[in-house]
Structure formats: structure tokens, C-alpha cells
């Protein structure tokens, strides 16, 4: 039996060589740092790079923020972050987090708690909705970066008055189609979080509950069943785009921008983007609060947005906290509101005089933010979202009662993280 042992040693030696050689080769790409580097990971935002520059100047050599761009879709962003955090990657310092991830990241111990001076500064002047999204179990885990809320965008050359209800909107669109005019209603109907947000808007307008208040039980009350019906009826009304089940935020923006639609439900980034993309359509692009379901009762919009968290594995947490405070300060929030269309989280920014012209939707946005539709707060949010978008897609196949029953069952398993993810 001497053979195998000796051979084993040889194999081990050989693997050892490979193990030694490989990291040496791999290391040559790593940044050799002169000074502290704070790695920021964030979703692509056109002008975030300029904000980073501003903050680097202000840091005056104490640290240097390096912007790393994550994929465009929220799912892809989360997947990248989570995988590295699970491996205790210390090369990430500041994380741009969708507001729905705070409970998950906090519960898993991936982001640091905010305390003392940092916390105080991060929470000052923040609107209540965004502030709630930075907390989990009574503690603070993030700094509100920007808020977000969808609006109904419409073409004032086709529609005089924005519709107050979904039914209004559908019949207006049908009328336009009969007149041979572009009468399409665009929304994010692909099988992803965006589809759930649309459903959540409708549920909000009807005061429905998907989960119980504390997020521990799947409820799916009558109002949510009604909301399923509204979504299905819309999908079958003939006013949707043929590629409804393929469209995400930017597909919707592009389709509207090309002039073939009367309405789109989308985030405020479309304002600067359409201005640059098609000034002609932009001229007639107006905005309104989301439609409701019952006459006389206004619609509600799902609150979105992003927070900055500091990675638990960061080697420079002090500097990372400081960097965050700079990245989301009033001046930078205003800059990104105007340039990237991102709604601020600081109340005072809305009141600044130059916002009136540069950010004309500010009043409607603030109004919507006053009483937004909330998404469930649970560490298993990813599971909830995946189940919701899978079951809701395609919306035309919804069978309200049966779909609600199925959701109730699968959501329960999802929030306990016990079920199988689709």
C-alpha cells in the first residue's frame, strides 16, 4: 500500500504548487493602494460618478472612493452583492441597497449598524417613508440615499385630463385606439420585481394586505383578490403593448419615447431621460398621481429607492460611514434629483428654490410619498418577490381566487424561507 500514499503526496504537492502559483498570478490585477480606498458598489446611475468625484475632493486625500457599477436589474445587483458577502469579501465597503433589502442584509449580519454621530447625521431631515426603510428591528442599518415613487406619465396632446381610475385609463386608451391614435398603456410587466410593484400599487389603492403587518404571515385578503382581477382585466383589455411580458423600466421608457403610447407607469428617471432622448415627445409628456381603482379614492404608489449600507467586512468602516454621509448629503441629492431624476429623501431639498424648475414633478412626488404603498418588510423579501412575480406572470393568465390561494400558500413558505424558490 506504499504506492497510493506516495502518489497521494505527489498529487498533494502538485495541487500545492497550483495553489501557490495561481494567487500570485491572480494578485497582479489587484489595486495597489496608496491611501485608503473605499469601494462603492451601486446600480448604474448616469451621474453618480460626478458625485463620487465631489466627495473625493472633499475627503482631501483621507480616502478615495472608487465607484463599481452593478448590473442594471435589481435581482442581478443583489445576487452579486449577496454572493460576495456570503464569502466575507472584504473588498466591498459601501453598498447601494434597494430599500427592500435592508431587513435581509441586517438579519444576515452583512451590514453594520449605524450609531452615534453617524446615525444622527444620517437620519436628520429624512422623510418618514425612506427613514422607515433604513431600520430593522428598531435599529438603524443604512442611510437613505434616494427615494422613488412611480407616476402616471401621459401625453397631453392625446389626453386632456389624466385618468383617475384604472377603468378610466383603459377606456381612454381604447377610445384612442379606435381613433387610430397611439393608445397603448405601458408598464413593467416582465417576470420580475417590477411586475410585483405594479400589483402592489393596486393593492395599495384598495387598502389590501398581502402579508400581516409584522410580515410573519401571508394574508392575501379580499382586497388583494380584487387587485388581481384589476391587473388581469387590464392585461386582457387590449391596450397593453404586445411585449408587455417582456418590458422592464427602460423598455417602457423607450417605447413611450418612440411615441407609440399614451400612458406609462414609471419612475421619475424618465423625465431627464426622455428630455434627452426625444424632445418632441417630451414637450407633451405630463405626469399625474397613479390611478385608483374605486372612483373618488386616489391611487397609491409603491415606495422605492435606495439606501447606502456599510459592509460588515469592510476594513475601513469609519471612512466608509463618512463617505456615505457625503454621497447622500443635501447638495448631492439635489444634483442627482435634477440630473438622474432621483427623488431626494431629505425634506429640505424639495423646498429649495431651484428645484421648482429643474424638478417640476416634486409636488406630485411628495404627495405620493406622504401615503405610499409599502412592500413587505421581511428578511426573506427576495423569496416573496420571486414568488410574487412568478405567480403573477403572465398577468393575463391570472385567475383571481385560485391565484390568491396559491399565493397565500407559497408566500407563507417563502417568508419562512422553507419553500423552493422558482
Amino acid at each position: 500500500m506504499g504506492g497510493p500514499t506516495r502518489g497521494g503526496r505527489r498529487a498533494a504537492a502538485m495541487l500545492g504548487v497550483a495553489a501557490l502559483v495561481a494567487p500570485a498570478l491572480a494578485a497582479c490585477g489587484a489595486a495597489t493602494d496608496d491611501g485608503i480606498v473605499i469601494n462603492l458598489y451601486n446600480a448604474p446611475e448616469q451621474n453618480l460618478g460626478k458625485v463620487v468625484e465631489t466627495c473625493n475632493q472633499r475627503a482631501a486625500g483621507r480616502y478615495r472612493i472608487v465607484l463599481n457599477t452593478l448590473p442594471r436589474g435589481a435581482d442581478g445587483q443583489r445576487e452579486q452583492l449577496v454572493r460576495r458577502l456570503a464569502a466575507h469579501d472584504s473588498d466591498m465597503d459601501v453598498l447601494g441597497l434597494d430599500i427592500t433589502w435592508t431587513p435581509e442584509f441586517a438579519e444576515a449580519g452583512w451590514i453594520r449598524e449605524w450609531t452615534g454621530r453617524h446615525k444622527e447625521e444620517a437620519e436628520r431631515d429624512v422623510l418618514p417613508g425612506p427613514l422607515a426603510s433604513t431600520r430593522w428591528k428598531g435599529r438603524s442599518y443604512a442611510a437613505a440615499k434616494n427615494s422613488n415613487v412611480q407616476l402616471l406619465w401621459y401625453r397631453s396632446d392625446l389626453v386632456d385630463q389624466p385618468p383617475a381610475t384604472w377603468q378610466d385609463m383603459i377606456s381612454t386608451a381604447q377610445r384612442l385606439q379606435q381613433q387610430g391614435k397611439p393608445g397603448t398603456v405601458l408598464l413593467t410587466g416582465a417576470q420580475y420585481e417590477g411586475l410585483f410593484v405594479n400589483y402592489n400599487n393596486i393593492v395599495g389603492a384598495l387598502d389590501g394586505h398581502i402579508l400581516s403587518e409584522d410580515g410573519s404571515r401571508a394574508v392575501m385578503d379580499d382586497a388583494t383578490v380584487k387587485a388581481l382581477e384589476v391587473l388581469r382585466d387590464f392585461a386582457r383589455s387590449g391596450v397593453t403593448s404586445p411585449s408587455l411580458t417582456n418590458q422592464r423600466e427602460d423598455d417602457v421608457r423607450l417605447a413611450f419615447q418612440s411615441g407609440n403610447a399614451a400612458f406609462q407607469i414609471n419612475w421619475p428617471f424618465v423625465h431627464p431621460a426622455t428630455k434627452a432622448g426625444n424632445p418632441q415627445v417630451f414637450q407633451n409628456m405630463k405626469w399625474a398621481p397613479l390611478p385608483g381603482v374605486e372612483p373618488g379614492k386616489p391611487g397609491r404608489a409603491t415606495i422605492g429607492g435606495a439606501n447606502y449600507g456599510v459592509s460588515a467586512y469592510s476594513r475601513h468602516p469609519e471612512e466608509a460611514f463618512d463617505a456615505v454621509l457625503c454621497l447622500r448629503d443635501a447638495e448631492n441629492q439635489k444634483f442627482q434629483a435634477v440630473k438622474d431624476g432621483l427623488p431626494p429623501t431629505l425634506a429640505s431639498v424639495y423646498d429649495e428654490p431651484e428645484m421648482a424648475e429643474a424638478y417640476p414633478m416634486r409636488d406630485v412626488i411628495r404627495e405620493q410619498l406622504r401615503d405610499p404603498a409599502l412592500r413587505p418588510m421581511t428578511p426573506a423579501y427576495q423569496n416573496v418577490s420571486t414568488v410574487m412575480s412568478t405567480v403573477l406572470s403572465p398577468p393575463s393568465a391570472i385567475d383571481p381566487k385560485a391565484t390568491a390561494d396559491r399565493l397565500r400558500e407559497e408566500l407563507q413558505a417563502a417568508i419562512e424561507s422553507k419553500g423552493v424558490l422558482p
Binding site: A86, A108, A190, P379
Partner: protein, 315 residues
Amino acid sequence: MSATATPTAPDESTRRSGRHRLSEGKRAERRLGWLLCAPAAIVMLAVTGWPIIYSVWLSLQRYDLRFPHEREFVGLANYVTVLTSSYWWQAFGVTLLITVVSVAIELVLGMALALVMHWAIVGRGLVRTVTLVPYGIVTVVAAFSWRFAWSQDLGYLARLFSPEGAPLTERASALAIIVLAEVWKTTPFMALLLMAGLALVPGELLRAAAMDGASAWQRFTKVIVPVMKPAILVALLFRTLDAFRVFDNIFVLTAGAQGTSSVSMLTYNNLIKGLNLGVGATMSVLIFIAVAVIAFVFVKGFGTAAPGSDRDGRR
């Protein structure tokens, strides 16, 4: 597996050779044999054997990286969860469907391609060379090519066949495109395996059959196919097990949306997206069992000669 087999084997052969002791040369040969095989055997066992045992252990736990404090032993609960999940069975069905349909198409196309490569009187080198392109190309690259070809606006195939719709977001058409991508990529491999079998068909036999007035089709079914049967079965076994693992194409083409997940895709999603190691490991074990069953059916049911099984007989 061989770790247990190796120690017992020498005992047996010692007993067999019984009274006459092994010659010095014989023993040196043995030692050299083991020495030479050991590194390969150790690597293979270390990277597959131990993880398999480990994944069985993981599959008996509730272990979700997002709830690190809730890790506990749960027995077979994960198996109950997975085996009662409609998503698992849907993915299982999709995997079987893709496997059966694509392997069936590949067999027909691969046979045709093998005949062309074998009997072409002109440009044989050319045909063989281009055939290797789909075999060699990175699956993900090919998958992106298909995705862009079928994307709305962007793609030439989408414009041609489906100007209004979005074929990759409809379940039936998406599955068809996945099968297309699989077939395109792996038919050449199938054809090469079949061509090797075709080379074993004796020319005189075909000429004799032709003399006896057998038509081309009769020659094919009565002479070529029977002689090639072992090669065909091996090719089918290889490709079936390979197709059952389908992942790359689905990841790129649909990411499993609209009920197009395969079991591999589902495992990946639960593991990497859900970070649920317990459920992910459970699926790993189940897939392993499924593959073992398929291999068993081929080997016992159809009498497929496992490649390499004639090895000792030959020496």
C-alpha cells in the same frame, strides 16, 4: 468508491494466485500501476466523493445563509419540501422534455451528419472542420447568439418568424428555442460518435446487400443500424446524461422565467439567489439520484456497453 475497492482487490488476487507467490516483477508492476493512478484517483475522489457525502449532510439541515442563527438538523424535511414543490416537478418535467426532444432530434440529425461526413466524396475535410465549430464553441457564446437572434427588434430570426411577439417570453416558444440551441451545439458531437460506429460497418456487407437488391433505406435499417447499435446506445447515453444537466443555454436565454427552469437552473437559483444551502443540497442529491437511475436504465435495460468496460478483456 475505489478507495474501498483498492485494499480488498490485492487480497483477492493474492488468494487467487494462491500457492505460487507473486514474482518480483509482477509486484513492481502493481506498485507502479497504483502509483501512476493514485494522483488522478485522489483528485477525482476528493473533488466529487467528499462533496457528495457533504451535500447529503447539508441536505438534512435547515441552512439558509440569511438566517445563520437558525441552522439546525431537520432530518428529511428538505426532501419533503422539494418533492412536494410544484416548481421542482415543473423543472423536472421541463428537463425531461428538453432531454428527450433534443436527444431524439440530435440522433436523427447526427446520423445524417455522420453519413455525410463518412461518405461525402468531395469536401470531406471542410465538412468535418465546420462541424467542429458548434462542438468547440463556448456554450454561453452560442446561447447569446441565439438570444440576440430571437430578441425583439434586435434579432434577424425574431423579425423573420415573430415580428410582433417576443418568442423568448412565451413558454412554448422559449422551450423550443432552448431545444434549438441545445441541438445545434451538440449534434456534431453525436455525429462524431456515430461516425466512429459507422467506420465499423464492413463495406463488403453493404455491397453484398446492394447486390441482393436491397434499397438504400433497407441497407440502412437492416445492415448499418444493427452493426452500429452499440455505438448508437453509447452516444445516446452520453448525450442523455449531458442534456439532463442543461444549464448554460437556459441561464442565458430565459434565466428560467415563464416556467422554463431545468433542475440545474432551479438548484442554482435556490443556492445562489436564495442562499438556501439546505434546499440546494437536497436538489443536488436528487439530481444525482436521477442521473444514476438514467445510467442504470441504459446499462441494464438496453444493454449499453459502458465505454471502457471491454478494457480489461482486451489486454
